[in-house]
């Protein structure tokens, strides 16, 4: 078995119009910038995909990565917990203009909905959001004298993931806090595509240290020395690069 993909273009070639796409990361850490940019490249060349629903904790920062995907007009709905950032201008303008739908989800509920989606649990109860506007319309039950809100699983057609090491079987490790939503999203998507800093032979990752087992992964593409969103933004980067 070899889940290695030849390049970024091949990695994102299968994502259709209207797909729900989970994109890993928390802010810039763990964000698969190169996969996102490859998807934008495909859109610029072919006009597809459009009408995407994107699941991420945030909604982009500056004009690279997820913000650039939104700015390109490829996204019609965001499911996230915190659509603010140091430079949220892209999301804010699209949202205020009514061009982008927002489903706001508390961060822990978002994580658990994704986990539940990957674990085959269609709904669960959480104390989070009880009595608030974000619980409106959701069933409430009392357990041991306390009220809990019913939340539904969240699944996706594709997940775009950033990991550290990967092997041809799709086993993954992550680097520090870049782990965040990535392992959960690997589980919750029908097709999980992962960019890794290095593809190592099977057996090179100590089985004790595998964070995402390969069963949750469909494709792995090598992106050595991946960009950090924070570095790109501090350099004033815009994607695609504006050329005269």
């Amino acid at each position: 078995m070899d889940k290695t993909l030849p390049n970024l273009a091949a990695a994102v070639a299968g994502i259709p119009d209207g797909a729900t796409v989970m994109i890993g990361g928390f802010g810039g850490s763990g964000s698969p910038i190169e996969l996102i940019h490859a998807l934008i490249d495909r859109f610029l060349a072919t006009g597809h995909p459009v009408g995407l629903t994107v699941v991420n904790n945030n909604a982009g920062n500056g004009h690279v990565g997820l913000a650039a995907l939104i700015e390109a007009g490829m996204v019609t709905k965001m499911i996230c917990s915190f659509p603010r950032s140091a430079d949220p201008v892209v999301f804010t303008q699209m949202y205020m203009a009514g061009k982008l739908e927002l489903e706001l989800v508390p961060q822990g509920t978002l994580a658990e909905r994704i986990r539940a989606g990957g674990a085959g649990i269609p709904a669960f109860y959480t104390p989070t959001s009880f009595g608030t506007d974000l619980a409106k319309g959701k069933p409430v039950e009392v357990f041991d004298g306390r009220s809990y809100v019913q939340e539904r699983w969240l699944k996706a057609d594709f997940a775009l993931i950033k990991a550290h090491l990967g092997d041809p079987l799709g086993n993954l490790t992550y680097r520090m806090a870049a782990r965040n939503f990535n392992p959960l999203m690997c589980m919750a998507a029908a097709v999980t595509i992962v960019q890794v800093s290095e593809i190592v032979p099977a057996g090179a990752i100590d089985p004790e240290t595998v964070i995402t087992p390969g069963i949750f992964v469909q494709g792995v593409v090598a992106v050595p020395n991946p960009a950090q969103e924070e570095d790109l933004n501090r350099a004033g980067a815009v994607y695609p690069e504006v050329t005269a």
Binding site: F26, G27, G28, S29, G30, N57, S81, F82, P83, R84, S85, A86, P88, F91, T92, Y95, M96, L102, L104, V105, P106, Q107, G108, T109, L110, A111, E112, I114, R115, T126, P127, T128, S129, F130, G131, T132, D133, L134, Y174, R175, M176, A177, A178, R179, N180, F181, N182, P183, L184, I211, Q228, E229, E230, D231
Partner: protein, 221 residues
């Protein structure tokens, strides 16, 4: 005459026990970490999957895979642990944190908290606030006692959209330390120069007394 945010953070830090697991909200509450009393070491949790992180790195030494919930760079220290987001919020909702200290727009005597939305205008954003108010053994807030134009922020009922119902247990305000007990504000400490009557007029619900009220004393900063 009132405490600065730094002084409120100092006061809040005095109540954190050695070895406590603590989450500090984005913004001013992050300063609490600087004022741990000598001999005590809390273990700080951040929603994005780190337990036991260290202080900010030197400028230029940032590693952007090592950030806190406010997206600010932090550092490793001996004993740091990483984990994914579902485990991180299991720590939150599962009752494993000892203390969460958050900011607040309004707090009600019922313990209701409003700290995520100032109304329907603009882009709504909630982050982890609604999760953090459930599960920590103590949920405390740091806040100015009144708004910029002098209106009370400690109220009978919150007017802004709620973050959580009956969740706050202690308020570190710019004028006082107030506990919430069985649906009442109970005054524990107040600035010595402030009379009880004056404090009551700046508070939107009755301040109850349950034993002596101590002077709220903080260092000059």
């Amino acid at each position: 005459m009132k405490l600065s945010s730094t002084q409120m953070a100092w006061r809040a830090a005095q109540d954190i026990e050695d070895g406590a697991y603590v989450n500090l909200g984005i913004g001013f509450p992050e300063m609490v970490a600087k004022f741990q009393p000598p001999g005590r070491e809390a273990i700080f949790h951040t929603e994005n999957g780190i337990l036991g992180f260290g202080k900010a790195p030197e400028l230029g030494a940032e590693d952007w895979d090592l950030i806190n919930a406010g997206k600010k760079a932090v550092t490793l220290k001996p004993g740091t642990a990483f984990f994914h987001h579902a485990d991180s919020f299991a720590m939150v909702r599962g009752g494993h944190l000892d203390v969460a200290i958050l900011g607040a727009y309004e707090v009600a005597e019922t313990g209701d908290l409003a700290n995520w939305s100032t109304g329907p205008k603009g882009v709504p954003a909630v982050g982890g606030a609604m999760d953090l108010v459930h599960g920590a053994k103590r949920v405390a807030v740091m806040m100015d006692h009144v708004t910029k134009d002098g209106q009370p922020k400690l109220l009978q009922r919150c007017s802004l959209p709620l973050t959580g119902v009956a969740c706050v247990t202690r308020i570190y305000s710019s004028l006082a330390v107030v506990d919430i007990v069985a649906g009442h504000f109970v005054l524990r400490e107040k600035l010595a120069a402030l009379s009880l009557d004056a404090l009551q007029t700046m508070t939107g619900a009755t301040l109850h007394l349950d034993g002596p009220v101590a002077d709220l004393i903080v260092p000059e900063m």
